[in-house]
Amino acid sequence: MNATPTPLDFRPFGESTPRPGNPVKSIHVDPKGAQDSVYVRATDFSIFYGRAEAVCKVNIDIYAGLVTAIIGPSGCGKSTFLRSINRMNDLIPSCKTSGQLLFDGVDVYDRRLDVTVLRKKAGMVFQKPNPFPKSIFDNIAYGPRLHGVKSQAQLAEIVEQSLLQAALWDEVKDRLSANALGLSGGQQQRLCIARALAVNPDILLMDEPTSALDPNATSRIEELISELRGKYTIIIVTHNMQQAARVSDYTAFLYEGALIEYGETRQIFTNPTRKHTEDYITGRFG
């Protein structure tokens, strides 16, 4: 990964003044005083693949309505942690957890939990854009249909709203019935975001959503994240530190499965308390 230039620039590429819709520094949430605005809380939470511990004893509070970035070198357990929040790890038979992970106050690994509802509340965006090989409309309508929306008018409404929110509407409104695989990579990724938004989630989990995209598409996604900020709780995994710095309010640094440091983005990037974090963000390793 590229060495990060210091001092860090918090503004998106090519913008000299902060935009009104991107008030990174204007919201301040006190970690201690805001108990009810904690949306995800991990307590001594560990994840194992068979014997190997991929995430160990993580304690973290993720705040509602904010953008939280998880950074760390490749293989440190970022995706593993993210995927445990909507229990996508269930797909891997060897994957086990210990400790507690609360989602909106509910234990994610409670045996009575309805995974379907959990996943509906937690939309996910993957590293590589993965639209279904269906039309654009059907891609977005997939989730709502799944959850029982049948009326065509309602579906059309949802599709339009979701595409508008994902800033894709203008580009695709004339070809909603075209195959989604015909879109460009950046458009596909925004389509995936729109698809995730269409089921009306509370939280968006993004696993390196821009790592497969070119810089232009990347900045559009970043803008989009800034626009969605405040409406959704967003967790974004990235190993592009500039990106974390640009889009997030809070940043967590994971290293070899352990949470090394967590705090406001500005503080992490300007004044990290741990030596490890500093080494990482200044590009000494990773």
């Binding site: 509602a64 909106d104 009575r112 709502p144 959850h147 409404e157 269409a198 509370d202």
Partner: protein, 390 residues
């Protein structure tokens, strides 16, 4: 926290993360029932083969109860409708073996060299163009092959069998003889150190060998040329057609095995200065040997189990040819006997005549089962080897 300003009309009544105990139970039961249904269907499909084995065995056992093993495996006299009937299947089992061996003799050299050519010699685009040939050969129904054997090939063999065999012999023997002699004379003069002397000796030796071998080849060719074939529906005809039918399997499975050997091994050999032929024969073939063996076993299975071709074109004579390797005589196989005799036998379910056919079917099933197991075992061993576990 929820985006209430968001115009999404999606409303979900059961938007509660924790299910009630009851809903949880229903969900679990539903999932279990669904999965049990899938498992049931899958296991019915899979265990069909056990049913087959069971029902064939069930009708085969009464035969051995009635008549014992001695006659079936020991006698060549097959008179199921005589009085008293005789059920000696030895000649028929022998016939099956004979055509299977014949088929492998046809298919192995052809199939293996084709597979090697496909995997190592031809460029990718040509290979893609050739694949359909193999696929079409595999797709042609067996009755069509049988028809060809009976209506086209058999008269041809009967009329001009001798000349055809002779020409085939010359085409195969002359080039291989030439190459063999060149190689042998080179190898035998290896010890001579002076370059001039050696080259001289090599040439003399080659000439000498040629002088000895050529008359032999021509003599054999002449004998073949004079051969009179009394009937075109014989073991040779059937073996040839069965060999062709087994080709697609042999080619595609052994090609896969050759491809699986991987680049590194080949490059290592080329790096030592080996030619392509040497690389393939000395390095790739041994590494792929088990896959090739599996391919041949599958070919054996195909030939052994084939019915229509042998029924139509083997002559159906329940006899061991004289001499036993005489491929120009009609023979009879297990499959053809089952197909041909069941019509007369199935009216009298319960008679030895009916059950003897099931005994043959069971034998066939057993042989194919063994071939199948062997080939799977061989392949899994190779895979383990490639992964470095053995």
């Amino acid at each position: 926290m929820n985006s209430s300003d968001h115009a999404n009309p999606l409303k979900i009544s059961s938007d509660r993360l924790i299910l009630s105990a009851r809903a949880n139970l229903t969900q679990k039961i539903m999932a279990w029932v669904g999965q049990a249904f899938l498992f049931f269907v899958a296991s019915v499909a899979a265990t069909a083969v056990l049913f087959i084995i069971f029902y064939i065995a069930r009708d085969a056992i009464p035969f051995f109860r009635l008549r014992g093993f001695q006659e079936f495996f020991g006698s060549t006299r097959w008179y199921p409708s005589g009085s008293p009937p005789v059920f000696g299947a030895l000649a028929i089992i022998f016939g099956s073996g004979l055509v299977t061996v014949g088929a492998i003799v046809v298919t192995a050299p052809l199939g293996l060299s084709a597979a090697m050519c496909l995997s190592d010699i031809l460029p990718f685009s040509v290979r893609q163009a050739i694949k359909p040939i193999v696929e079409i050969l595999a797709a042609i129904p067996s009755v069509a092959y049988g028809f060809f054997a009976l209506v086209v090939l058999a008269p041809l063999l009967q009329e001009d069998g001798g000349p055809i065999l002779a020409v085939t012999w010359y085409i195969v023997a002359l080039p291989s003889l030439t190459i063999g002699i060149i190689m042998a004379s080179d190898l035998l003069t290896f010890r001579i150190t002076t370059e001039k002397k050696r080259s001289m000796a090599r040439r003399l030796l080659a000439l000498g060998l040629f002088a000895i071998a050529l008359p032999l080849v021509v003599f054999t060719g002449q004998i073949l040329f004079q051969l009179k074939i009394t009937t075109g529906t014989n073991a040779l005809n059937v073996s040839f057609i069965l060999g062709i039918m087994a080709l697609p399997t042999v080619v595609s499975v052994s090609e896969d095995a050759l491809q699986a050997v991987g680049r590194e091994l080949r490059e290592g050999s080329y790096a030592l200065g080996a030619t392509r032929a040497e690389t393939i024969i000395q390095t790739v073939m041994p590494a792929a040997s088990s896959g090739i063996l599996a391919a041949l076993l599958l070919g054996v299975m195909r030939a052994l189990g084939e019915t229509m071709v042998v029924w139509m074109a083997s002559g159906n004579a329940a006899q061991i040819p004289t001499p036993w390797f005489n491929y120009l005589e009609p023979i009879r196989t297990l499959t053809a006997t089952i197909a041909g005799d069941m019509g007369e036998a199935d009216h009298v379910t319960g008679s030895a005549r009916y059950h003897v056919l099931f005994a043959m079917g069971f034998l066939l099933l057993l042989l194919c089962f063994v071939c199948n197991m062997l080939s799977e075992w061989v392949v899994s061993r190779q895979q383990k080897k490639l992964r470095g576990e053995v």
